[in-house]
């Protein structure tokens, strides 16, 4: 299929395609980070992850409307404020849900799956009742749309760069929080041995609550960022859920490095196959590949030894 193209064309297409793969990688990683914390660190299967993301997207939408109507002069930078608000809104909701629901279920991980599925149904209906059943269009500042031309063929997408930068920043922040900060050590201590951690004076309830809230907050930021590339409607969250779980599970639940590696592998595989095959087949093959590998290596790519 390449015979008909000239060499420079081919070169630039490989560059572009690599870039597309990197964007997809950032998107997957950003989706999965929040879940990696919640599922990886706490063992909670949060089926409402997508709905937390969409909450962030709605917050972004309302912030943009507010800026458009009241302070249009600052519209070009509203997005940063919107992301902060999205983090707070989703985080606060997460904290409430942890208190009301999740904390009763730590010993029954499969039941968290059912309860959070119920939560996702409720949230979807609430979005529909309050924000209307139609999708909303989030207007973005002009500088975030469009692309920077590098050569005739190669163009760098600004929102792609933005998502990459954001993903990198959040990943580093999470890594730092988890592996360097005092709080992160507490989280890992609780994961490894809850009773012992409590015995040495760690307030495990508080750690749980904040961990869950952090995961949900990151989902909110991801949702906010995805208004650049996707739709915002009551049921949009559902589009992400299967991909997200596969990324986390494929990477090995309790490992941040694993999540990164798996997001990279899956995104590259999918983006390459999409280029050579039709979209549907690429998706099926990617999913099959992931499931196949998981059957051979159920613990995922990377694992953490945990004393049970």
């Amino acid at each position: 299929m390449f015979a008909e193209y000239s060499l420079p064309e081919l070169g630039s297409i490989f560059v572009m395609q690599g870039f597309a793969g990197l964007i997809l990688f950032s998107v997957f990683l950003l989706m999965a980070l929040g879940l990696a914390i919640i599922f990886g660190q706490m063992g909670v299967i949060n089926m409402a992850h997508g709905e937390f993301m969409i909450l962030g997207a709605y917050v972004t939408y309302f912030t943009s409307q507010f800026f458009l109507n009241y302070i249009p002069a600052l519209f070009s930078i509203y997005f940063f404020l919107a992301m902060g608000l999205a983090f707070l809104a989703s985080g606060a909701l997460g904290m409430f849900i942890e208190w009301a629901m999740i904390r009763h279920l730590y010993k029954r991980p499969l039941d968290t799956l059912l309860a959070t599925w119920g939560l996702s149904l409720i949230l979807q209906q609430l979005y529909r009742s309050f924000f209307g059943p139609r999708e909303v269009g989030v207007e973005l500042p002009e500088w975030m749309m469009g692309s920077i031309p590098v050569t005739d063929m190669v163009e760098v997408q600004i929102n792609g760069l933005f998502v990459m930068g954001l993903t990198m920043a959040i990943t580093i922040a999470v890594a730092f929080l988890m592996y360097k900060s005092r709080w992160g050590k507490q989280v890992r201590a609780v994961v490894q041995n809850r009773v012992m951690a409590g015995a040495v004076g760690i307030n495990t309830e508080k750690v749980d609550r904040y961990t869950f809230a952090l995961g949900c907050g990151i989902a909110g930021v991801a949702g906010s960022a995805f208004t650049m590339i996707g739709s915002t409607g009551p049921t949009s969250g559902q589009l992400y859920i299967v991909d997200t779980f596969l990324v986390v599970v494929f990477g090995g639940a309790a490992s941040l490095l694993g999540t990164i590696a798996s997001a990279f592998t899956i995104s590259q595989a999918q983006s390459t196959m999409e280029f050579f095959l039709s979209g549907s087949m690429a998706k099926v093959l990617t999913l099959l590949g992931v499931v196949g590998i998981l059957m051979l290596r159920p613990q995922g790519l990377f694992t953490l030894k945990v004393r049970r």
Binding site: G132, M145, E155, G160, I229, T232, T235, G279, S280
Partner: protein, 419 residues
């Protein structure tokens, strides 16, 4: 909030009605059954439908929950508006229309179940409803078995015809061929890249488009791609488009994928004012979610746009916004849904009966001159004669009509040579 709107509407309708009655000549001009003195129920209803001396019941069957609620909300609104208007103008055969609304919940078996409930339990005289092909296919056997009447609003893939269904949207060839001819002539389109969501309507539409491009336009198809419903990542295919450099991107992506596709297309630096893109799946409703600024310059081929310049449409848009709020937009399917109750009313009055068998026969050649899209007529194959129009998306999310076929296009659900 919505109560206020409805109350406002009611009073305004009442005012109109009173004014109409005050004017005696106007009363004289009204149809003879308009003032509640219709023919005896036993005459107009011989099959036990829910018709009383003062009321007739119809069903509205759309998804108000689940993924399809996004699209179907507009249709529900349009059908309710039409019913209100018909009632304000005296109803059907002197009877007010009462509706029973059921939720299909975006789930095809639920559609079948609810259709059966409407027909068997509620004995509705007609059903306005369904949106996706899948829901129609699920409902069709039920409608045929219990001899109901369905008014189906969506443009669809064709290959179907039933005595019990009136298709108020366009079948595929009506929508596709004229648009392709236009783009080939006006935009010198020779090579086409076809992209669609992966299900029956885009695939059938693309099949027709490909045959037309290759056999009649002398053009070529440089790529054909389908993505699963709900797919949100289009960067790879956008790269492929950049590589193949087609004259025209021909697009039938639906639902949430739409938003992702156009946002990513814009972000990738494909300027739709330079690259011709013709879509058959984006109406004003979808643009609401995509954002007008992200799709400015794209062309869509439909039979109706909210911005159509004619008196019928101006009145329709004003009434619609009065009922459902200033911000609501009206897409092709919403308008087609609005036709349903009106066409049914006129057919009933022509047949002089609510009986489904009589309506099925009387439907042929029913004309609706007050249609917002201009003028429609029912073909004997139960599809509508209609024009095809091409509109260009403006930054405010509305279309500017750039082309309109001179004549009504004959519906042809089983097109020879395109299968």
């Amino acid at each position: 909030m919505s109560d206020d709107i409805e109350r406002g509407l009611e009073s305004s309708l009442r005012r109109k009605l009173l004014m109409g009655m005050a004017a005696i000549p106007a009363v004289a001009l009204m149809p003879k059954f308009a003032l509640g003195a219709g023919p005896a129920t036993s005459e107009v209803n011989t099959t036990g439908l829910a018709v009383t001396d003062t009321e007739v019941t119809v069903g509205i069957l759309h998804s108000v929950t689940g993924t399809m609620a996004i699209s179907e909300t507009g249709s529900v609104q349009a059908e309710k508006l039409a019913i209100e208007q018909i009632n304000a103008a005296g109803g059907v055969l002197g009877r007010k229309i009462k509706y029973i609304q059921e939720d299909g919940a975006s789930d095809w078996p639920t559609f079948a179940e609810k259709a059966k409930k409407l027909l068997v339990q509620d004995k509705v005289a007609a059903i306005m409803g369904c949106w996706t092909s899948a829901s129609r296919k699920a409902v069709l056997p039920v409608i045929e078995q219990y001899n109901g009447m369905l008014y189906y609003p969506t443009f669809y893939e064709g290959l179907e015809q039933s005595k019990n269904v009136i298709y108020t949207g366009q079948e595929a060839t009506q929508q596709i061929l004229a648009g392709l001819d236009w783009v080939a002539k006006e935009k010198a389109g020779k090579s086409f890249y076809l992209i669609g969501s992966d299900y029956i309507w885009p695939r059938t539409s693309m099949k027709i488009a490909r045959k037309h491009i290759e056999a009649h336009l002398g053009g070529s198809v440089s790529g054909e791609e389908y993505f699963p419903l709900g797919h949100t990542q289009f960067n790879s295919v956008i790269n492929k488009i950049k590589l193949r450099k087609p004259d025209v991107i021909y697009c039938a992506v639906v639902g949430g994928s739409n938003v992702a596709f156009y946002k990513q297309l814009k972000a990738a630096g494909i300027d739709l004012s330079k690259q011709t893109l013709l879509t058959i799946s984006v109406t004003e409703d979808e643009i609401d979610g995509i954002g007008g600024e992200n799709i400015t310059g794209a062309y869509a081929c439909m039979k109706y746009f909210q911005s159509l310049e004619n008196d019928n449409n101006k009145e329709f848009v004003a009434e619609f916004k009065k009922m459902w709020g200033e911000k609501t937009v009206i897409g092709d399917v919403t308008q087609a849904a609005y036709l349903g109750p009106w066409l049914w009313k006129m057919t009933v009055e022509k047949a002089g009966s609510f009986d489904v068998d009589k309506i099925a026969v009387a439907s042929t050649d029913i004309e609706f001159t007050k249609a917002p899209e201009g003028y429609v007529k029912i073909h004997e194959n139960h599809h509508l004669w209609s024009k095809a129009r091409v509109g260009q998306v403006q930054p405010d999310g509305q279309f500017k009509v750039v082309f309109e076929t001179a004549d009504l296009i004959e519906p042809n659900p089983f097109p020879e040579g395109y299968q």
